[in-house]
């Protein structure tokens, strides 16, 4: 039942999805040209996100998930990075064809981004109100005073207590959770159609993480924002994403609806990742001889020295000669379930 995806065709996404997608990344290739050689940080990644939907992008460090996000906004440092191929479709245009000034009109306005570490992405010399106001004055042409009122309103919307006072605070005067709220307020101040959240809660404590994720969900429901949620945390994805893309060594290895993916992961990497995480409920009830976690042997390959064939093969327990010889195509093995693995059909019939 596997269906080959022909190059140049977007059969990867169901056509209906592609038609209603707000943002569509098509065969994106972002490479870094270093003295040690070309690093293919993102090597042919496609995905799409619809209004009101959350697309989760998961993977470990160096898998290319953050570079994908930065590529969408064309924020990859050049040199050494360069987008060498693909399209990013948004609002009927390919963002990669736009001029820098056209791009500036989109950043922070139609597409916003929040980063992992709010302390390094906020300007320590400016009050948070000033920083939120900047986006509003640039994109919406409001007067300074009207923009300030809107900044206060945004802080209130992200549940910052005493917003009239906090608007005059500097970033260092706020806690980590509050700074992340400020980042969200800033990102949402122009009602973006797409919000890219790169590890938005990784630096936060769990009780604060719960607050921030809840806030993002509420705001999404109110404004119908499409969210691309980039994270390494499978739990965060399971509880927040509608669709999930799993990345490994610069490529998408699996994509499915959240339910399909978590109930029947198809790629050995996804299965391995899910098995290697301690689960709170299971962990609490193991006996004294605790269960060993599943290990994915070895480590993520270095991107300038990728193995031939499937990049996961050296760590994969199912790898065969076929895997070591050629990279598997990304095929639809079940309705709405794409997997790049030679053995996916066999694995899908095996209980995880």
């Amino acid at each position: 039942m596997s269906q080959e995806v022909l190059p140049g065709e977007t059969a990867e996404e169901p056509r209906t999805a592609a038609a209603t997608a707000v943002l569509e990344i098509d065969d994106l290739r972002t490479h870094f040209f270093t003295r040690a050689g070309v690093i293919r940080a993102v090597d042919g990644v496609s995905c799409a996100v619809r209004a009101g939907e959350t697309l989760g992008v998961v993977g470990e460090s160096g898998c290319g998930k953050s570079v994908t996000a930065l590529s969408v906004l064309r924020l990859v440092a050049d040199p050494p990075g360069r987008i060498v191929g693909g399209k990013i479709r948004f609002g009927g245009a390919n963002l990669l064809d736009l001029s820098e000034s056209e791009m500036e009109a989109i950043r922070g306005n139609d597409i916003s981004m929040i980063f992992q570490e709010p302390m390094t992405s906020l300007n320590p010399l400016l009050t948070v109100g000033r920083q939120i106001r900047e986006a509003i004055t640039v994109h919406q042409g409001l007067s300074a005073r009207a923009a300030m009122d809107q900044a206060v309103e945004m802080l209130r919307r992200v549940s910052i207590p005493e917003p009239e006072r906090r608007v005059h605070a500097y970033p260092h005067q706020l806690s980590g959770g509050m700074r992340q709220r400020v980042m969200i307020a800033m990102a949402l101040s122009c009602n973006p159609k797409v919000l890219i959240a790169d590890e938005p809660t990784t630096a936060l404590d769990v009780t604060i993480q719960a607050q921030i994720l809840e806030l993002m969900r509420e705001l999404q429901e109110t404004f119908g924002t499409a969210i691309i949620l980039i994270t390494h945390d499978m739990g965060v994805v399971a509880e927040n994403a509608d669709r999930v893309v799993v990345m490994y060594a610069g490529r998408k290895v699996e994509e499915a609806g959240a339910r399909t993916l978590f109930e029947g992961p198809g790629h050995p990497y996804t299965r391995g990742l899910l098995d290697s995480i301690p689960k709170l409920d299971v962990a609490a009830h193991e006996d004294a001889h605790r269960i060993r976690l599943n290990e994915i042997k070895g480590m993520v390959p270095s991107l300038h020295n990728l193995p031939d064939g499937c990049t996961f093969a050296p760590r994969c327990e199912f790898a065969t000669d076929q895997c070591r010889a050629a990279y598997p195509p990304l095929l639809q093995h079940r309705p709405d379930h794409l997997i790049a693995c030679w053995h996916a059909d066999k694995l899908l019939t095996k209980p995880a």
């Binding site: 009780t207 993480q209 719960a210 509880e239 990742l273 995480i277 609490a284 009830h285």
Partner: protein, 341 residues
């Protein structure tokens, strides 16, 4: 009076009312301008071969407990009893024999290894300091390398040549060099990728079985702590608010903070409806000026007048299950909401 009385057998480690306060010094005249109550009266015990998990959010004092327990920091007050001996007042010289038996694994494998020493030198340094195994150091180091899953040839490589997971293995080999009985592991896996995390967790558990190690496992990730520990202590602003075996903690938390913490952990499973969560308001208050009464009352969903005035004692609510919360006196039924569902 403390959460330490076991079943008669002498525990390996016992901590009684441990406090560590840091003065805040300001200005040219070094005036004391306040105090950070990092650890403010903590008691627990650890048996031989046991892992006690210590969980809490950033700034709750969990790492300070680990460091003070090893006397890497001088305790402000309280007792640290190792096999019946109080070592809290020991000077550097009298600490030496204990240092061999009590080791530490650090969170950041990038910061805790000297970049100018080779991996082999790092692992053999404890032998040099304690003047043991003079003739056979190379062999001992090679054996340690193998035991933690590193190829012995790598002895001559420097820390920057290793990945994060391998560096953590070097840190573990160094901690094990002198065959300690007790190891404080301070967030040993939180800097690692998920697939590498599992390797290190398994290694720590295997080593425990093999060498009958006791661990104080300090971490913020409740799932990891539950996986590795036998019993778990939950800290909030310098105090232990709950302490019990891991299954009871998960099934029947007795402190509202534990309940919120359990409910905040995202679970990597699909469910059609979003979980019913206890979402705490606000942030953790500063340990410089902790709230009066119960430290948690500013964020607690069930706080009442007494919580704002009176500090609840950590008391044994059920056999082996310690909690510090006034609600138990008020007869409120726990758990308040099902954490797993």
């Amino acid at each position: 009076m403390t959460a330490t009385e076991g079943d008669g057998a002498q525990p390996l480690i016992e901590v009684r009312d441990l406090k560590k306060h840091f003065p805040i010094i300001k200005g040219v005249f070094s005036r004391p301008a306040g105090t950070v109550y990092a650890v403010d009266g903590v008691s627990f015990q650890i048996d031989a071969g046991e892992t006690l998990g210590l969980v809490g959010e950033s700034g709750c004092g969990k790492s300070t407990v680990g460091r003070t327990l090893l006397k890497l920091l001088e305790p402000t007050s309280g007792q640290i009893i190792v096999r019946g001996e109080d070592i809290s007042g020991n000077d550097h010289k009298r600490m030496l024999p204990y240092r061999r038996q009590m080791q530490m694994i650090y969170q950041d494998p990038y910061a805790s290894l000297n970049p100018r020493m080779s991996a082999g030198e790092i692992v053999s340094e404890p032998f040099v300091i304690h003047r043991v195994a003079t003739g056979e150091r190379q062999d001992r180091v090679a054996a340690l390398f193998e035991r933690v899953g590193l190829r012995p040839e790598l002895m001559h490589a420097y820390p920057h040549e290793f990945s994060g997971g391998q560096r953590q293995r070097i840190g573990i080999a160094r901690a094990l060099a002198l065959s300690p009985e007790f190891v404080v592991a301070d967030e040993p896996v939180s800097a690692l990728d998920v697939s590498i995390q599992a390797q290190i967790i398994n290694l720590l558990m295997d080593l425990q079985d093999e060498f009958k190690l006791s661990y104080l496992f300090v971490a913020h990730d409740l799932a990891v702590v539950e996986h590795l520990s036998h019993r778990v202590a939950v800290m909030y602003l310098g105090r232990i608010v709950e302490l019990t075996d891991k299954a009871t903690l998960f099934d029947m938390p007795l402190h509202p903070y534990t309940e919120a913490l359990l409910s905040a952990v995202p679970i990597p499973k699909y469910s059609a409806e979003s979980r019913k969560r206890v979402i705490l308001r606000g942030d953790v208050p500063s340990p410089i000026n902790p709230p009066a009464g119960c430290h948690f009352h500013t964020r607690c969903l069930y706080a009442h007048a007494r919580c704002r005035a009176e500090t609840p004692a950590l008391r044994e609510v059920n056999p082996g299950h310690w909690a510090s919360c006034h609600l138990h006196d008020a007869g409120v039924k726990f758990p308040l909401a099902s954490p797993g569902g």
